[in-house]
C-alpha cells in the first residue's frame, strides 16, 4: 500500500534544508570528499605506498621549493601526499560507514526489542547503556582497544561498541515517547498488535530522529577512528589513514608542517561538513523548530 517514500512532510523538510546556507555548504564539501573517496584510486597520481627515495619532504606546489610532480608534496619517506590523502579518504570513509551502519543496525534492533521487554529488564538494559554512555566515547574506545589489543579490526570493533548505546538509547526513548501518543492508542483500538504498532505506526515517526543520530555518529566515528590511528591503536603504518598519517608526521612539524597540516585539514573538513549536514537535517526534520 505504501506508495512513494517522499511524503509531503519530506518535501517540506527539503524546502527548509535548502534555506540553510551552512547545510548547503556542508553538502557541497561532503559531496566533493565523497567523490574523491570514490574516484581516489584513479585520481591518485602514484601508489600511496611508493617511496621516491630522492624526493623526501618535497613541499607542496604553493611553496617556492615545490615540485609540480608532487602536488601536495611528499612525506619523510618520499611518498606522494596527494595520493595518500586520496587513498586515506577512501579508507577513512569506508571504515566510518562500516562502523556506523553496523552500530546503527545493532543499536536500533536492541532499542526496538527493548519495547517488548518487561519494564524491569528494560530499565536494567537502559542503565547499562547509560553506564556506557557516561564515558567519553574516545576514552571508552581506547579502553576497549587496550583490552582486546591494537590494530585496525579491533579499533573498528571498539568504535562500534562505543556507538551502539547511543542508538539503543535514542531508539528506545523515541519509541516510548511515541507509544504514549493518541494515534498509537487509536491504532491499538483498531486491533493492531504490538509488532504491527511498531513497524507500521511508530517506525515512520522515529525515522527522523534516527537519521539525525546517524549523521552525528558519522562524525564521531570518523574522529574516533582517526584518533585511534593517531595514538597507534588503530590503522598501522604504512596504511594511508588520516589519523596514522598525522602521527607519522608529528616529528616533522617544525620543518615540514604540510605533512601534518594536510591530513589534519582533511579530517577537519570532513567532520565539519558532516556536522553541517547533520545540523541541517535536524533543523529540517524537527517539527518544533519549523518556522
Amino acid at each position: 500500500m505504501r506508495k512513494s517514500l517522499v511524503t509531503a512532510n519530506q518535501k517540506a523538510a527539503w524546502v527548509i534544508y535548502k534555506q540553510n546556507k551552512g547545510a548547503l555548504i556542508g553538502s557541497v564539501i561532503l559531496a566533493l570528499i565523497l567523490l574523491m573517496a570514490l574516484t581516489g584510486p584513479w585520481l591518485a597520481p602514484y601508489d600511496p605506498a611508493h617511496q621516491f627515495s630522492n624526493k623526501v619532504l618535497v613541499p607542496p606546489i604553493w611553496n617556492s621549493a615545490g615540485d609540480f610532480d608532487y602536488f601536495f608534496g611528499t612525506d619523510d619517506l618520499g611518498r606522494d601526499l596527494l595520493s595518500r590523502l586520496l587513498y586515506g579518504a577512501r579508507l577513512s570513509l569506508q571504515l566510518t560507514l562500516t562502523v556506523v551502519v553496523t552500530a546503527a543496525i545493532t543499536g536500533i534492533i536492541i532499542g526496538a526489542a527493548s519495547a517488548f521487554l518487561n519494564p524491569t529488564l528494560r530499565s536494567l538494559l537502559m542503565r547499562i547503556m547509560d553506564l556506557l554512555l557516561s564515558f567519553p566515547s574516545l576514552l571508552l574506545a581506547i579502553a576497549i582497544v587496550a583490552i582486546i589489543g591494537p590494530g585496525l579490526p579491533n579499533a573498528i570493533y571498539a568504535v562500534i561498541i562505543v556507538l551502539i548505546p547511543q542508538f539503543v538509547r535514542i531508539t528506545q526513548s523515541a519509541i516510548s515517547d511515541e507509544l504514549n501518543k493518541d494515534y498509537v492508542m487509536a491504532a491499538k483500538l483498531d486491533g493492531a498488535k504490538r509488532f504491527r504498532l511498531l513497524t507500521h505506526h511508530v517506525w515512520p515517526n522515529i525515522v527522523p530522529a534516527l537519521i539525525v543520530q546517524l549523521t552525528f555518529s558519522f562524525s564521531t566515528a570518523l574522529l574516533d577512528i582517526a584518533a585511534l590511528g593517531f595514538l597507534g591503536l588503530g590503522a598501522q603504518p604504512p596504511m594511508a589513514e588520516w589519523g596514522t598519517m598525522l602521527s607519522e608526521s608529528r616529528a616533522f612539524i617544525q620543518f615540514a608542517p604540510w605533512t601534518m597540516t594536510l591530513p589534519g585539514v582533511a579530517i577537519f573538513l570532513t567532520v565539519l561538513s558532516i556536522n553541517l549536514v547533520g545540523d541541517g537535517i535536524r533543523d529540517a526534520l524537527d517539527p518544533r523548530l519549523n518556522r
Binding site: T7, N9, M185, A186, D190, G191, K193
Partner: protein, 261 residues
C-alpha cells in the same frame, strides 16, 4: 432482553507514585453504572478531572478497570480473551482528532488499519468500504490520499468518525468530540452524529461538559463528580429536577443550557 451495553460498578484507581514505599491511590472512578440500548445516547458530564475521560478509555478497552463489569449484549466483555469483538463493536472518537491520526501516514493508511486487522476483506473491498464511510461522513473520496495536517479541525473530526464507523460498530464512545471546534463546525459535527445515529441505530456514550449540547443530544445523563456517580437518569428528569446539589451547580454554571419551563 439484555441491554445493548451496560456498565456495573466500574472502579478505577491510579497509584500516586511509582515509589513502592509511598502508599496511596487516587480513586478516579468510584462505582459507575449505566445501561444503554440501540439508538440511545448517554451523556457523561462533569468537571475536568471528574473521571470522564478515564471512563471513556475503560469503555473502549484502552484501560482496564480495577473492578466492575462491562456487559455487551449481556456478556461481560472484560472477561473475554479475544478483545477484538470488543474493539470492533465499541469504538472511540478521540477528543483531539489530529493527535489520534498518525501524522506520517495518509488518511487511507489510517483507515485501512481497522479493516486490515478486523476483517478478511481483500484490498479492493477495503478500498470500497473506505470510500463508503468517507461518503457517509461527507468527505470526498480523493481526501483519502492526503495527510492529516492538510485538513481542517472539522474535517479531521469527520475522518475520526469515519474511522470509528468502518467496522460497523454498535456503540460509539465520543470523548468531547466537538470541544476543540468552533461553534458552527460543532453544529455540523453534532448533526452528522445525529444523522448517523438515525441511519445506523448507533448507541452513543457522549462525554461532554457542554450541558446545552447534552440536553439537545442525549436521552440519558450520568453526572460524575470526583469519580463518584452523582446522578444518573433521563435527561428531562435530571435537568428539570436535579436531586444533587452538584448537578444544580453544574446546571447554573452552564451558559448554553435552557431551563425547561
Amino acid at each position: 432482553m439484555p441491554n445493548l451495553f451496560a456498565a456495573k460498578d466500574i472502579r478505577k484507581s491510579y497509584k500516586v507514585s511509582n515509589n513502592p514505599l509511598k502508599k496511596g491511590a487516587l480513586e478516579v472512578l468510584q462505582g459507575v453504572s449505566f445501561s444503554l440500548n440501540e439508538g440511545q445516547t448517554l451523556a457523561v458530564v462533569g468537571e475536568s478531572g471528574s473521571g470522564k475521560s478515564t471512563l471513556a478509555r475503560i469503555l473502549v478497552g484502552a484501560d482496564n478497570p480495577d473492578s466492575g463489569e462491562l456487559l455487551f449484549e449481556g456478556r461481560n466483555i472484560l472477561k473475554k480473551k479475544n478483545k477484538f469483538e470488543w474493539y470492533k463493536n465499541i469504538r472511540m472518537i478521540f477528543q483531539d482528532a489530529s493527535a489520534s491520526l498518525n501524522p506520517r501516514t495518509t488518511i487511507r493508511q489510517s483507515l485501512e488499519e481497522p479493516l486490515h486487522n478486523g476483517t478478511n476483506y481483500t484490498s479492493s473491498q477495503r478500498r470500497e468500504r473506505i470510500l463508503e464511510v468517507l461518503e457517509m461522513v461527507g468527505l470526498r473520496p480523493e481526501y483519502a490520499e492526503r495527510y492529516p495536517h492538510t485538513f481542517s479541525g472539522g474535517q479531521r473530526q469527520r475522518i475520526a468518525i469515519a474511522r470509528a464507523l468502518l467496522l460497523r460498530p454498535k456503540v460509539i464512545v465520543a470523548d468531547e468530540p466537538v470541544s476543540a471546534l468552533d461553534v458552527s463546525v460543532q453544529a455540523q459535527i453534532i448533526n452528522l452524529l445525529l444523522d448517523l445515529q438515525d441511519q445506523l441505530d448507533l448507541a452513543y456514550v457522549f462525554i461532554s461538559h457542554d450541558l446545552g449540547l447534552v440536553q439537545h443530544f442525549s436521552n440519558k445523563v450520568l453526572v460524575l463528580n470526583d469519580g463518584k456517580q452523582e446522578e444518573y437518569g433521563r435527561v428531562t428528569d435530571i435537568f428539570s429536577q436535579p436531586k444533587s446539589q452538584y448537578t444544580l451547580e453544574l446546571l447554573n454554571a452552564s451558559a448554553g443550557y435552557k431551563k425547561p419551563t
